[in-house]
Every structure is written in structure tokens, then in C-alpha cells.
């Protein structure tokens, strides 16, 4: 069996891991961010590379060390620095000497609005029902009369009857259909034309969403269910768009009926949406266009409504991408007191079934108490996998009265990003306390090599 496992590892060991061959850092680059490609190498470490950029095509010729793949293959991430890039849609090819090529594409968007500020950034290729807001440094419509204004999107003139003036001087319009990709937007008023290159991104709602355009925002629990001791758990979520423009999300996670075209998460300016839990017992992600994601506010709370006279429940964080962890996740000071039941929940956006790992450490001396492999699975197909996390959970064994541990979790496969939290539920009152992760330092060194 051991020989078979080793053979399997050797066969499976590719120069680059199958999961995420090329990782773009940061995942949503702008013209203000230093861009790095991380090559997830699991076999022959890369010794050197050259980068050639022709327009928006980047070719990385990598030179790995020769020889056979070590067993077991270990992660050997290799960083290729691209630096600051102008806005555009880039294609990266990583070429290996033996003819193997890996490709990745990503968007670099403008960090700041140009002379023409168009929101939201992403619209579907058939944007029926979409409303864009365009603002400029010059006066546009005369009152409600926009007849002197011409808006061009990707070379297509927007019919004048689709332009509407807003009281704050901006113009709202329905964009024309367009093939997926970045487009320039121009506005002409009083004989003056302003243009912002790559101002707008058209996407195909039926295709895999581009992670450089969409931020994945995790709602860790979103369900209603009966529980132990007569408890009736409900989730209460809310989303608020404080901006002056519509936000069109890639998917929907709310339970409201879909009676209009598209049924994407179209949030109106100042729009507030509250909704209850549905069937996302293992969590779900909302894909929000990156330029809008930082402004949109979220909340999530779980309550036992069978005991709603006693308390208002527990806030559960809505997890933004910057709060995900690549590597070990730290949960400090988690109780194992037998009066409580403690569950650790693990999340990662990875594919095939794999195992996460939960290690309990004594906070007094840092020694490991116990470790548990946790099966991680998800059930999804097609593009729904883009917002369906792989999930695993572990009930921690009860300890002695007042005993506490530090919990270290590995949730992601191949070092990809994950998240975890612990819920501590009182056996009598069903009061829930949560412990969420903090710190990226991982496991405490033990023994620490200190001079």
C-alpha cells in the first residue's frame, strides 16, 4: 500500500499544482497595486525566470531544477514580480522548458475614476435592466434635457432616449449589449469629449466569473433549522448599498422571489435588503464587483427564536476576501468546558474532496493536545461552484471544567485561502459564543530555536 501511495504521488506530482497553477496577487489588481504571480510549484523548484510583456500578453519562461520529483511533493511557491501594470485584460503564459504551458488571465482595473466615472464596474453582456451612472468633471444635461449629451460605450453610441438626468448632475443610462471584456466609455457635451479607457467590464453570466473582477464574500451560515433541546435557529442577513449607483452582483443568496429579468443581486442606490436564512447550511458566497464591494455593507446574525425572549442571538462575521487565510488559521482561547458543546467550522473555495486539519494546543505551554483530520466537501456544479465553499466541521471533544485550548486550523487545499470559526453553545441555555480567527502567524514555534 505504501509503495502504491508513493507511486500515486509521483504520478500526481506535476510541476505546477492542478488546483491553482498561477495565482494573481493581489487577486483584484488595480493600477495602484504591485502585481505578483505566484506559481504553485509542487515538484521541481523553479530556479530562475524571464518575463516578456507585449501589450497585455505576458510570457514567463521558467527554468525549473531538473531531476525527478521528490516524494512526497511539497509546496514550493515561486513569485514572479510584474510590478505596476496599466489597466487592461492580461493573459499570462508560463512556459516550461519541456514544452508545457500554463495560462491565466486577469483584469487590472483603474484605481481611481478617470475623467468619466462609470458605475458599477461590471455589467452583463446583455444588460437588460441594468442602470449605469456616469459622472464627469463637466456639466452634462441641461436640467432634465440630455439631448446635447452623447455617451459612447465600447464604440457604441447609447441612444439619446436611454439617457436620464439625475439631480446631482450625473447621467443614468442603460448600456448597450457588448461582448465580454473591458470597454472604454466616452461622454460628449457642449462639444467637449471625455474618455476613460477600460472604464467598464462586460461579463458573461453563464461563464466562470473572473476572480479579478468579483470579490467572493462569504456568509458562513445562512439557514433556518431546528436544533438540539428544542432550539429553532434562524439566520438574519442584511446588505446595504450606500452608493449613488446600482450594484449588480453576479449571484443571489437572498430568498426574495425572482420576478424580473436576470434575477441578479441588483441593489439600488441606498438600497437595503434584509433576508432570512435558506438552505445554505454550509455557507455561501456573494460575488460582488470589486470596486463596489468595499462600500457595500453586510450583516449576519443567528438566533434561537425558541428562546428569543432571552437574547438577540449572535453576530457571525460576513467574511471578506482580505479576512481569508492562506495557511494556518488561529482561534485563541476556545473553551472545552463540558457545560458547552464546541464546533469548529471550516471553509475553503477548493474543488474535489480533501481534508482540512484541526489541531488543539495547550495555551500554557504551546504543546499539541490533539489533532483531527476533517473531511472537506462541497456539492455544486457548473458556475455555482464559484460561490459554493467546501465545508467541514468538527465537534471538539469535551475537556475538563474551565479548560481552554488554542485551535489551529488548515482549511484550504494546496495552501489556498480558507476561513474557520468556533461556536460554543451552552448546553442548558443554548447561548452561543463564537470565536473567530485572528493573526497570520500560524502555529506557535515549538520548540522555538532561540539563542
Amino acid at each position: 500500500m505504501k509503495r502504491f501511495t508513493l507511486l500515486l504521488l509521483l504520478v500526481a506530482a506535476l510541476p505546477l499544482a492542478a488546483q491553482e497553477e498561477i495565482l494573481v496577487l493581489p487577486p483584484g489588481p488595480t493600477t495602484d497595486t504591485f502585481v505578483t504571480l505566484r506559481l504553485d510549484v509542487y515538484c521541481n523548484p523553479i530556479l530562475s525566470h524571464t518575463v516578456t510583456r507585449t501589450g497585455t500578453t505576458i510570457v514567463v519562461a521558467a527554468t525549473p531544477r531538473g531531476g525527478t520529483c521528490p516524494s512526497p511533493p511539497l509546496p514550493l511557491p515561486y513569485d514572479v514580480e510584474l510590478g505596476f501594470l496599466p489597466s487592461g485584460q492580461y493573459t499570462v503564459e508560463v512556459r516550461l522548458p519541456w514544452g508545457q504551458t500554463f495560462t491565466e488571465s486577469f483584469i487590472v482595473r483603474n484605481a481611481k475614476p478617470g475623467l468619466v466615472d462609470v458605475r458599477p464596474f461590471a455589467v452583463p453582456m446583455m444588460p437588460i435592466g441594468s442602470r449605469l451612472r456616469l459622472a464627469s468633471d463637466m456639466a452634462l444635461c441641461a436640467g432634465e434635457d440630455c439631448s446635447g449629451v452623447t455617451v459612447t460605450v465600447g464604440g457604441v453610441v447609447v441612444p439619446g432616449n436611454r439617457l436620464s438626468a439625475s439631480s446631482d448632475g450625473s447621467v443614468f443610462f442603460t448600456p448597450p449589449p457588448h461582448a465580454p471584456g473591458l470597454v472604454d466609455v466616452s461622454v460628449t457635451a457642449n462639444g467637449v469629449t471625455r474618455t476613460t479607457p477600460n472604464a467598464l467590464y462586460y461579463y458573461d453570466p453563464a461563464a466562470e466569473p473572473d476572480p479579478s473582477v468579483w470579490e467572493r464574500i462569504l456568509f458562513p451560515v445562512l439557514f433556518n433549522s431546528g436544533g438540539a433541546h428544542g432550539s429553532e435557529w434562524v439566520s438574519e442577513a442584511a446588505i446595504f448599498n450606500p452608493g449613488r449607483w446600482f450594484v449588480e452582483n453576479f449571484n443571489r443568496i437572498d430568498t426574495l422571489p425572482c420576478i424580473d429579468y436576470g434575477c441578479t443581486g441588483l441593489l439600488s442606490p441606498n438600497g437595503f435588503l434584509s433576508f432570512g436564512g435558506s438552505s445554505y447550511v454550509n455557507g455561501v458566497a456573494l460575488l460582488v464587483p470589486r470596486p463596489e464591494a468595499e462600500h457595500v455593507a453586510f450583516s449576519l446574525r443567528v438566533r434561537d427564536v425558541a428562546r428569543q425572549a432571552e437574547g438577540f442571538g449572535t453576530e457571525v462575521p460576513v467574511v471578506r476576501e482580505e479576512d481569508l487565510y492562506a495557511g494556518t488559521i488561529t482561534l485563541l482561547d476556545v473553551p472545552l468546558d463540558p457545560r458547552y458543546r464546541t464546533k469548529v467550522r471550516l471553509y475553503a473555495f477548493d474543488g474535489s474532496p480533501f481534508s482540512g486539519f484541526v489541531a488543539l494546543h495547550d495555551p500554557k505551554d504551546g504543546t499539541r493536545v490533539t489533532g483531527h483530520a476533517v473531511p472537506m466537501r462541497r456539492s455544486c456544479s457548473g458556475i455555482a461552484c464559484a460561490w459554493t465553499p467546501a465545508y467541514g466541521e468538527l465537534d471538539l471533544p469535551s475537556g475538563s471544567a474551565d479548560e481552554r485550548v488554542n485551535v489551529y486550523v488548515t482549511a484550504g487545499q494546496y495552501g489556498s485561502k480558507g476561513w474557520a470559526f468556533a461556536s460554543i453553545t451552552n448546553n442548558d441555555t443554548q447561548q452561543v459564543t463564537i470565536v473567530t480567527p485572528d493573526g497570520r502567524g500560524g502555529l506557535p514555534c515549538n520548540p522555538c530555536q532561540v539563542k
Binding site: 446595504f240 450606500p242 437595503f272 453586510f298 450583516s299 438577540f312 488554542n406 539563542k451
Partner: protein
């Protein structure tokens, strides 16, 4: 008093407004720039300007704001932002002038750290060393002693390191001897055999918590106190340094530690974990060195120990700099104002402090009717040493099951955070509501979209 006089007085008072480090409220964003981050200078203004010129002499930038026009009918403060060119590792100063005036309108100083990259010859932890830190052992990776450390030379800003040793994990440890040295960045040169590696700005000697070197990390409540209905509230704060190096924070949560050797920070050993429970009911701002801060782990929980059989309490976030909003406000969604609960809003503000006062405004908006039910202004009060500016507001009780969104409009360019506690009057169970989003405030009156 004419309007013009008021404006002139206001402008004069603002021009005299000065912080220890951010004269005139001028500061840079991001707060901890590196050699790979663009640097923006934020200049609080009332007078209009047509543009600016930027000149550089050494590491001093002089920004001259052109055509200042202070004859404005209604003074509306705003932030004028100037982008600096990409900067190398170093210590910089920015001085802002109004064209035609000799007085400095505002100024600030900051450090640009080296961003880690494959080209970095070696890395030393901790990055920030107190000026009296000759006993601190530093850990270096990326170079090796080879056969023996006796022949290795480590030059730290002109001072030869001592006690150079290598551990089995390949790291090299050393000390920097000497009495108090000058605060600032230093270059480190390592010579091993025939090879010499140089790392400019590898270390920073500190005598205060320079913002561009130390991240501000807020512990919102650290207290032990008795409350209503026999409750006995206790905080449990934890700090963990899992790494195999020392970390020297510029201050400490320990309220009773005697301060004998300035700057009285706190040294966390490798894999050390410390706990605290009292001393800062209005919050505490920890100053942790930026290169090490992401690795530190924090936890904070408040419990009513008189009812500890009923529950383990409530986790309160420890707030890192990325979780603060800057220049906007605070948004708390779906906050219950049911009369069975008492709701308290706590608002915090840390430096860089806004130039134009500490007045904030809260508004409550019913989540169903969207009607605004309350608008009130309030003042954030300065705290003691290591404490944030702070305000707390008890929200008025609403109707049964009523919920509101809470919007707090902060002073111009404030760095802020806040949260609400929702406490059941009968059971003392606490639910918290923490903010989300950039804090961009809704604009009811200015949005009329067709």
C-alpha cells in the same frame, strides 16, 4: 462679526492647529507605506486651490498649493490629496505651503519600509528596536554563518553586532550593543566569508510609536466592573506571538507595569502568550510594529461572571487598522431597538486625528419604513495615554421588534470604528453589532435617479 472675519479667524485657527507629528492635520495614506505602495498626502483645507507644485530636496517634499482662495461664502472643509512619486526605503518629510505665504501650512514625517521581495537579501525580526534595546536579541534569515559565526560581521548602522550565533533552523541571532542611539532607519551589512549583503532600512530604532512603523490595534473594552442587575463584567484579552522571534510593541496593555526604561513597550518572546483583563473601559490602542503585527493573534471576550453558568460571554473584535474606516463614517446594519433591550453605541477614533474638530453625527433609519428616526451630533472625547478618542451613546428604545440601521458620519478624514451592544434587560445576554463596509454614508437628498 462679518462672515469674512469668521472665515479668516477659522482659517487662522486651522493654520495654527498642530499635532505633534501631523502639523495642520497633514498625513500620508497608507499609514504604513512601503517601497511598493503609492503614497498620498492628505491636506485638510478650507481655502480653494487651483493645483499644486511638488519639489523634492533630498527626502523633503515641498508642496505649494496654488492660487489659494479663502473668500468662500460657506467654508466647507475638504481634503486636498497629492500623490507623491514612488518612494524608496527611507525617512521622509512633507511640508505644505500656500502660494505666496512663507508659513508652513502643514507638515508630516513618515517612514517608507522595504516591501519584502525575492530580492531582499535578508530579513531581520523584529523590525522595530527600542533605542535602549541593546539586550534585545534579533533574528536574521536569508544568510548563513557557514561553518562558524566567528567570522561573520554584522554592521548595524555603523555599530558591530555581538553575540552572533546560529540556531539549527539556520537563523542567525545577534545583539546590537551600545547605549541609547538615535531613532530612525538603519542599514545593515552582513559579511560572511567573501560575500557582503546590504539591506537598507532593515531595522528601525524607535523612541516613540511612529505611525508609519507601528500599526494601531484597538482593544475596544478591557475592563472588570460590576453592572446593572448584579452583573459582574470581565474582559479576557489575549495576545499571542507564535513566531520564533521577539516582538517589541511600543506600549503595553498592562496597566500597572512600572515604566523604568523608556519607551516602556512590551516585549513578547517567541511563542509567548499573554492575557489581560482590566484597565481600559474606553478602549486601548496597542502599537505593534507593522512587519510583525500581521503574525500576532489577538482575542477579546467580555463575560458576565455572575451568570457564567448560562453562557461564555461575547467575543468583541480586536480591531486592526484595515478594519477602521478613513474619511467616511460607520455603518451598523439591522440593530434592534426593541424596548426589551438596551442598546449602547461605542465610537472610537484614532490618530491621525481630524483637523476640523471631533464632532460626529448619528442617524438611525428604520429598516422597514426607511424613515430616519433620530439625528444627533456628539463629541468624541480625547482619552488618556494609549486610549482612543471615544464616545458612547445609549440609543432610544423603539417599538417592539423595531430595527434600525445606524449611520455615523465622522469628522472629515477621521479614522474610526464603532460597535453596538444589545443587552437583554432580563437575562443580560449581550449581542454585538459590528460595522461593515467602507462607512460611506447614504445621501438621501442628493440622489434622485430617474
Amino acid at each position: 462679526m462679518t462672515m469674512r472675519t469668521i472665515i479668516l479667524l477659522l482659517a487662522l485657527s486651522l493654520s495654527l492647529f498642530a499635532f505633534a507629528d501631523d502639523q495642520g492635520g497633514v498625513h500620508v495614506v497608507p499609514f504604513g507605506p512601503t517601497s511598493r505602495t503609492p503614497v498620498d498626502v492628505h491636506i485638510p483645507m478650507i481655502c480653494g486651490v487651483s493645483g499644486e507644485t511638488v519639489t523634492r530636496v533630498g527626502n523633503v517634499f515641498k508642496i505649494t498649493l496654488l492660487d489659494p482662495n479663502c473668500a468662500i461664502t460657506i467654508p466647507i472643509p475638504y481634503i486636498h490629496t497629492v500623490r507623491l512619486p514612488m518612494l524608496d526605503v527611507g525617512e521622509y518629510r512633507v511640508e505644505v505651503f500656500l502660494a505666496g505665504q512663507d508659513n508652513v501650512h502643514g507638515a508630516t514625517g513618515f517612514v517608507v519600509r522595504d516591501a519584502p521581495s525575492p530580492q531582499t537579501p535578508f530579513t531581520i525580526h523584529p523590525f522595530a528596536v527600542p533605542v535602549f534595546g541593546s539586550d534585545l536579541r534579533l533574528r536574521m534569515t536569508g544568510v548563513s554563518c557557514g561553518g562558524s559565526c566567528a567570522s561573520m560581521k554584522i554592521d548595524v548602522g555603523g555599530v558591530q553586532a555581538t553575540d552572533i550565533e546560529q540556531t539549527v533552523d539556520g537563523a542567525v541571532w545577534f545583539r546590537v550593543p551600545g547605549e541609547r542611539r538615535q531613532a530612525g532607519l538603519v542599514e545593515v551589512q552582513v559579511t560572511a566569508g567573501d560575500a557582503t549583503s546590504v539591506h537598507p532600512g532593515a531595522l528601525y530604532f524607535f523612541d516613540d510609536a511612529e505611525r508609519s512603523v507601528f500599526e494601531r490595534i484597538l482593544f475596544p473594552v478591557v475592563f472588570a466592573t460590576d453592572g446593572a442587575n448584579g452583573s459582574r463584567w470581565r474582559s479576557e484579552a489575549t495576545i499571542s506571538n507564535p513566531r520564533p522571534w521577539f516582538v517589541e510593541n511600543a506600549n503595553t496593555l498592562s496597566p500597572v507595569r512600572p515604566c523604568l526604561t523608556y519607551p516602556c513597550g512590551e516585549r513578547l518572546g517567541p511563542a509567548e502568550l499573554v492575557t489581560y483583563g482590566d484597565g481600559y473601559p474606553r478602549g486601548f490602542v496597542l502599537h505593534a510594529p507593522r512587519p510583525e503585527a500581521p503574525d500576532l493573534a489577538f482575542a477579546l471576550r467580555v463575560r458576565d461572571v455572575s451568570r457564567q453558568a448560562e453562557g461564555l460571554g461575547t467575543q468583541i473584535p480586536v480591531v486592526r487598522e484595515k478594519d477602521f474606516t478613513h474619511g467616511t463614517g460607520i455603518t451598523l446594519l439591522d440593530v434592534p431597538v426593541d424596548p426589551r433591550y438596551r442598546v449602547k453605541l461605542r465610537v472610537y477614533m484614532i490618530d491621525p486625528l481630524p483637523a476640523y474638530g471631533q464632532l460626529a453625527q448619528i442617524s438611525l433609519r428604520n429598516t422597514v419604513t426607511r424613515a430616519t428616526t433620530l439625528i444627533r451630533t456628539f463629541q468624541l472625547q480625547p482619552g488618556g495615554r494609549n486610549e482612543p478618542h471615544y464616545a458612547e451613546i445609549d440609543l432610544p428604545a423603539g417599538a417592539a421588534n423595531e430595527r434600525v440601521n445606524v449611520h455615523v458620519r465622522m469628522p472629515l478624514d477621521a479614522t474610526a470604528w464603532g460597535f453596538a451592544t444589545v443587552t437583554n434587560n432580563a437575562t443580560q445576554q449581550v449581542t454585538i453589532v459590528t460595522p461593515s463596509g467602507s462607512g460611506l454614508q447614504p445621501c438621501d437628498t442628493c440622489i434622485v435617479y430617474p
